[in-house]
């Protein structure tokens, strides 16, 4: 982020949106800061695009209000808002050149020629399509169209740039490249970006903060680390990254931890972090596969007994090798657990049927709150 100020760029206050009887956005309260790269993440149909379109002025909220830099824009028409949008299918004007497309907004603002050309050229350089200004909009590759659409929006110096799955039409390699480039452009210009995606990796990679939506509701807002490390509920946890979840029978509560004792001195512990767990009750616990260490049973040695660390034995039932990583599926007393190991020199060489010991650090597992939204 180029600005360290925490001024508010956008505020949604109790926004609801209905299509007929169907409620697409439910009581949305959200604050997006100036200069921030903010992503709205969620499964298809959760209301991301609708939220973005209310910001752009293409849909009007049925109740609640939307503030842009402090002023109420809830009912302002799209041409009267200092925001610009990059559309999923670019929507370049096919009867205009690249220059004509990028100059469109400036011409409407009566920017005249030396400055007009200078700003268009400058923006085409920023998105790296300089030299194509005379090209017809139809004669561009997908990646080039994407860049021109970006330039066409950014050249107006919007208070907020809205992007609706702008990379979804590109192939994987180009998409990865554009993710990095978009982020660096955002850094360079310091513009507030509101980015809609249903790709969790993309959101984690690009965003300063992420808002997770499901079924019209905003479930959690936080930095990628917060969202990934401490998801607010089971839905978020499962949607962002893969996850092991199991029931933990509370045998003992001590030092802010709930502990379940298993056979052979094995045990599983979870830091409660404010959650309540009565002895003899059952709580839902989750752990990311990459936080689990897998060791061959013979090599595992004795329990180190570190307070809060966990240790569970099991049998390998599947080995999925994907180059840099290997995912093991292991049958344990907790159920089937997935564990992921980087394929470095220390990686265990395991096959199906091997007996192993799983272990993880005290802070690796967390208590999973029940889903905020059903389903």
């Amino acid at each position: 982020m180029t600005t360290s100020s925490s001024a508010t760029a956008i505020q949604f206050e109790g926004v609801n949106k209905f299509f007929g009887r169907f409620q697409a956005v439910k009581d949305l309260n959200l604050e997006i800061r100036e200069g921030e790269f903010f992503s709205l993440l969620g499964p298809s149909g959760c209301g991301k695009t609708t939220s973005l379109r209310m910001l752009a002025g293409f849909e009007e909220a049925d109740s609640g209000c939307i503030l842009l830099r402090g002023s109420d824009v809830t009912s302002a028409p799209p041409n009267k808002r200092p925001v610009n949008m990059v559309f999923q299918h670019y929507e370049l004007f096919p009867h205009m050149t690249v220059f004509g497309n990028v100059a469109y907004g400036l011409r409407l603002k009566k920017v005249r020629d030396p400055e007009l050309s200078r700003r268009v050229q400058e923006m085409l350089r920023v998105v790296r399509v300089d030299g194509l200004e005379g090209r017809g909009a139809r004669q561009l590759s997908g990646g080039q169209q994407q860049r021109v659409a970006l330039a066409r929006a950014l050249v107006n110096r919007p208070a907020v740039l809205l992007l609706d799955e702008p990379l979804s039409a590109l192939d994987v390699k180009l998409r990865k490249q554009m993710q990095i480039e978009l982020k660096s452009i955002q850094h360079q210009l310091g513009t507030t970006f509101v980015y809609v995606t249903h790709d969790q990796e993309e959101a984690l990679l690009m965003s300063d903060r992420i808002g997770i939506m499901n079924q019209g509701r905003l479930l959690q807002v936080g930095t990628p680390r917060e969202i990934y490390g401490r998801p607010a509920d089971a839905f978020v946890a499962d949607f962002v990254g893969s996850l092991n979840a199991f029931d933990l029978r509370v045998d003992e509560v001590s030092g802010g931890r709930a502990v379940m004792r298993l056979a052979d001195g094995e045990h599983v512990a979870v830091a409660l972090e404010g959650a309540v767990a009565a002895p003899a009750s059952t709580i839902r616990v989750a752990i990311r596969p990459e936080r689990i260490r897998v060791t061959e049973a013979q090599a595992a040695g004795a329990d180190t007994g570190a307070p809060g660390a966990s240790r569970v034995g099991g049998v390998v039932t599947a080995v999925d090798y994907v180059g840099s990583l290997t995912t093991y599926r292991i049958e344990t007393a907790l159920g089937l657990i997935a564990a992921q190991e980087a394929n470095d020199t220390l990686a265990p060489d395991l096959v199906v049927g091997d007996r192993v010991v799983l272990s993880w650090a005290p802070d690796a597992a967390f208590v999973l709150p029940p889903s905020i939204v059903e389903g």
Partner: protein
């Protein structure tokens, strides 16, 4: 009228369909006969319009442009030609303008209304021109409008052309990406500005095509003109009144002019509507 209808089909069907090849000699011969049957009268008219003499007998003794000279020197004919041109021009402009507005209006309707309205506006195709002609005459008469009555005929022509115009325009709007207008609004354009800078240039070829089609409908229309004009008749009326008097070889030249004008308009219309994309 027939040429115009044919080109409306061309415009709405846009993409050529693959036709099964005619293998048998029978159907093929039939096809040739059919084409001969359809085009032989036209051919005869065109041929005799270049006849050097007044006799209507084969083979023609020689070629000349004397009948063209003659009809173009005829003040009554030239005046009628002028009125036909005016009628075609106004029908074209009005047809194009009403066409795009009506088509945009229909496009914006909720789906279940859209189909109904689209059907209703096509009714004039199935309505006998005779009814239209008499209806318009009575209607204007009741309104107390007296001759010159060319404007009444033109109003009828616009009505007659509207279904063809709407077919062409609706097809064009189906292909138009309305999301482009959101992009324009987002960049600061008002509704009107977005229409003039985005919608209009992109559907202009279709509007021109529709206008040409309307003009083609007007230029050889007879019945409505017959019931609504008198001394201020259009070219088809003059041809008709002359035929009743004498067999005038000059009529062949006139008919050929009409034929060329209609065909040209229809072909141009088909070209402009299918030029892009």
């Amino acid at each position: 009228m027939t040429a115009a209808a044919a080109s409306a089909n061309v415009a709405s069907a846009a993409r050529p369909r693959r036709r099964p090849r005619v293998r048998n000699v029978g159907p093929r011969a039939f096809l040739v006969l059919l084409i001969l049957f359809l085009f032989a009268p036209l051919f005869v008219v065109v041929l005799f319009s270049f006849n050097a003499t007044a006799s209507l007998s084969f083979p023609i003794p020689g070629f000349s442009l004397r009948w063209y000279d003659k009809v173009l020197d005829d003040r009554e004919v030239v005046a009628a030609l002028g009125r036909s041109a005016i009628a075609a021009f106004i029908t074209g402009i009005a047809g194009g303008a009403i066409g795009i507005l009506a088509a945009l209006g229909i496009q914006g309707l909720p789906p279940r209304w859209k189909g109904a309205v689209q059907t209703v506006v096509l009714i004039p195709i199935a309505t006998p021109a005779l009814l239209l002609g008499i209806g318009i005459a009575i209607y204007f008469n009741r309104l107390g409008i007296k001759p010159p009555r060319l404007p009444m005929a033109i109003a009828g022509h616009v009505l007659l052309a509207l279904p063809f115009v709407l077919l062409t325009m609706t097809a064009a709007l189906e292909r138009f990406r309305f999301s482009l207008l959101e992009a324009a609004r987002d960049l600061g354009a008002s509704r009107a500005r977005a229409f003039w800078t985005i919608t209009f240039p992109l559907v202009l070829p279709a509007v021109l095509g529709a206008a040409l089609l309307a003009a083609a409908v007007s230029i050889d229309e007879f019945i409505i003109a017959f019931f609504n004009t008198g001394s201020d008749g259009t070219l088809p009326l003059v041809i008709y009144s002359r035929i009743r008097r004498v067999i005038d070889p000059g009529l062949n030249a006139l008919a050929t002019i009409l034929l060329v004008a209609t065909t040209l308009l229809a072909v141009l219309a088909a070209r402009t509507t299918t030029a892009r994309r």
